[in-house]
């Protein structure tokens, strides 16, 4: 195979992988602090992407034309809106169900995701049609033989990596991160040490959701198009990535995200029709679950009987 083509495939799967990893990190953060799956995560991402789009249209009207200012404001607005949304979901839909079976949380957030998705579908102007997402990044390309390096994609990749590194530093190096890790390890003990449990949980939800919004905006910039349904697939992929990596482990989530993207790309290469790539990737996830039921980096679990 042509090395340029291989490089192209690798570049594409890195790009997809970083978006998946950002979604998966959110899932794994929520699971870490509260042992729940917040399935509306994917649709929160959609809300983020649409908020970004609406902000862009608003900026156009307001006459702000500098692309960098636009980009920064779009990303900030999307992240702020979803951070609030994520914290609200945590406060009113996830925390009240703490005593109920874990699957109830999964169900309620699945349904909440449907509410968000349908709300965009029905109430955003012409919400059922795909929306063109503005190209805010320079479209320069660098030709390296048969491999075309797109500058905008490189920037997106760098931003994604930076975001994940920042979250990682936040978790491992700050007082807030210390509190998050304490709650994740043992909520009861963390409380007795004077940690405000509810605040930490909601802060985690806000951080994860903001990360998802950034992923949503990046996804929009990458494909130049968003639809109300992007969150469902990205949510399931992010969830798969987090589970394949091992829930509750941030490295596992990143690994899982890139693994899923690699599987999709592999599916597109080896199968006669590239349309089967999702089928291949999901089938691989199911087979993988039979082999490693708790993911690559298993959560440390001891069961009390």
């Amino acid at each position: 195979m042509d090395p340029g083509l291989i490089a192209q495939y690798v570049a594409n799967s890195l790009m997809l992988g970083i978006i998946y990893a950002m979604v998966a990190v959110g899932f794994t953060l929520f699971f870490g602090v509260l042992d729940v799956i917040k399935f509306s995560h994917g649709d929160v991402l959609t809300v983020g992407a649409y908020t970004g789009l609406a902000t862009f249209l608003g900026l156009e009207l307001a006459g702000v034309a500098a692309p960098w200012a636009q980009l920064a404001l779009v990303a900030l607005a999307a992240m702020a809106a979803t951070a609030v949304l994520g914290a609200l979901i945590g406060k009113y839909f996830v925390l009240p169900l703490r005593g109920a079976p874990a699957l109830n949380t999964l169900l309620i957030t699945l349904m909440l995701g449907t509410v968000l998705r349908e709300a965009i579908h029905l109430f955003y102007p012409q919400g059922s049609n795909p929306k063109r997402f503005p190209r805010l990044l320079p479209a320069d390309t660098v030709e390296l033989g048969s491999f075309t390096l797109r500058l905008d994609n490189s920037i997106l990749l760098a931003v994604g990596v930076a975001a994940i590194v920042l979250v990682h530093l936040l978790i491992t190096r700050t007082r807030l991160g210390l509190a998050i890790r304490a709650v994740a390890q043992d909520a009861e003990t963390a409380r007795t040490m004077g940690i405000n449990f509810e605040f930490i949980v909601l802060a985690t939800f806000a951080i994860g959701s903001a990360l998802a919004a950034l992923a949503g905006v990046m996804n929009g910039l990458y494909y130049s198009e968003i639809t109300f349904g992007i969150g469902l697939l990205l949510g399931v992929i992010g969830f798969s990535a987090a589970v394949v990596g091992g829930l509750g482990n941030i490295y596992g989530a990143i690994l899982g995200g890139f693994l899923f993207a690699a599987l999709q790309t592999l599916g597109a290469i080896v199968l006669p029709e590239s349309a089967y790539k999702d089928v291949f990737a999901f089938a691989a996830v199911i087979v993988f679950m039979a082999w490693r039921p708790t993911g690559l980096i298993a959560e440390k679990a001891s069961e009390r009987v």
């Binding site: 699971f31 799956i37 839909f93 009240p96 169900l97 109920a100 874990a102 699957l103 109830n104 999964l106 169900l107 309620i108 699945l110 349904m111 909440l112 449907t114 509410v115 349908e118 709300a119 029905l122 469902l232 697939l233 399931v236 969830f239 798969s240 589970v243 829930l247 029709e273 349309a275 089967y276 999702d278 089928v279 999901f282 089938a283 996830v285 199911i286 087979v287 679950m289 039979a290 039921p293 708790t294 993911g295 069961e303 009987v305």
Partner: protein, 389 residues
Amino acid sequence: MIAIGDLVRPDARFPGLASVAAVALYSILFLHAESQREVMGLVLGALVGLLALSRFDWTQRVSSSFAHHPRLLHGAVLASVITVLAVFHDQHYPLLMLATVLLYIVMCLGLNIQFGYAGVLNFAGAAFFGVGAYTSAVLAAKTGVPHLFIIVIGGGLAALIGSLLILPLLRTRGHYAALITIAFSLLFKTLIEVSDALGGPQGLKVPGLNLFGWNLNQGLAVGGVELSFYANYVVLALAMAAAAFVLTRRIERSWIGLSLDAVSLDETACATFGISVARWKILAFTIGNFLAGMAGAVYSMMTGFAHPNNYTFGDSLILVSIIILGGIGNPWGLAVAAAIMLVLPEKLQFIQEYRFLLYAVLVILILLFRPMGLLPRQVRVYFPGWRPQ
């Protein structure tokens, strides 16, 4: 004459019979209603009526009435479905809805065995329904296999494909297990959408059901009265629903049902008492998928097509919603919930567009405020009239 004393006795027949009759009458009025105003009036009337009755502990009386006279009241339910059928004998649309509700009940009973009893949550119900639908699409159009066998093959194939998921399902728990059926649900829809052999995004046409040389798509005339051809499907679907119902009830009150409940309550305790967790999960999952596949096979022959958009993850979520709304593990509850969820948006045109949104909100409210569902599951009754002390 009905004395007042008869009404308050726990074994009174009246509450059960009256409720069945009222539901039948209401269904007829509802299916008959044409204008949006009539439908809205009926919906509001039902809400007010239910609120009024709940002040008199009516559900308790009805369920105790059902517990004392199961045969009589099950007979009454069958009779009332047949009455509805007779009232609408020559109209296509109400009968299509009636048959659809009955087939969905078959499928939801299957999911109920999985989730309600064994605790295996299946987010791919619509996919297994779709396996049945595509089985009949391919076999009925391209081969001469008798259609009765096709229905059974549809169920068998759904169970067989489901068995591919068994190994990962048994090895995982909780969220990890949920991922497997969610992934399968998305996989299935993508697969049929991109597969040219299965018609791709256009779907496939399905010929009508033919039983022993009798084409169900031709309406019968009984004693000079023309019947809609959907009447045939209603009778078939009613038979299937009744059979699935009997199966569910038999499983529930047998030692199999006890084992399934035990597995869903505490796997570790089960294993220590020698109850095989794997065996019962496999059994419940297989029976459930079999029922879903059979229902799907008949449904696609009735509607005449199999289309990828009918078997999406969203549809699977609607099935899960029906089970939760009805009361997890309660077959009567899910029958009522299926009727509400399927017929209401068809009749109230303006909510058709909003139905996914409304269902989702409804399920969220149920989970927050009434987590056991509208009609919570009762303790098993082994003898007519027996009550837990």
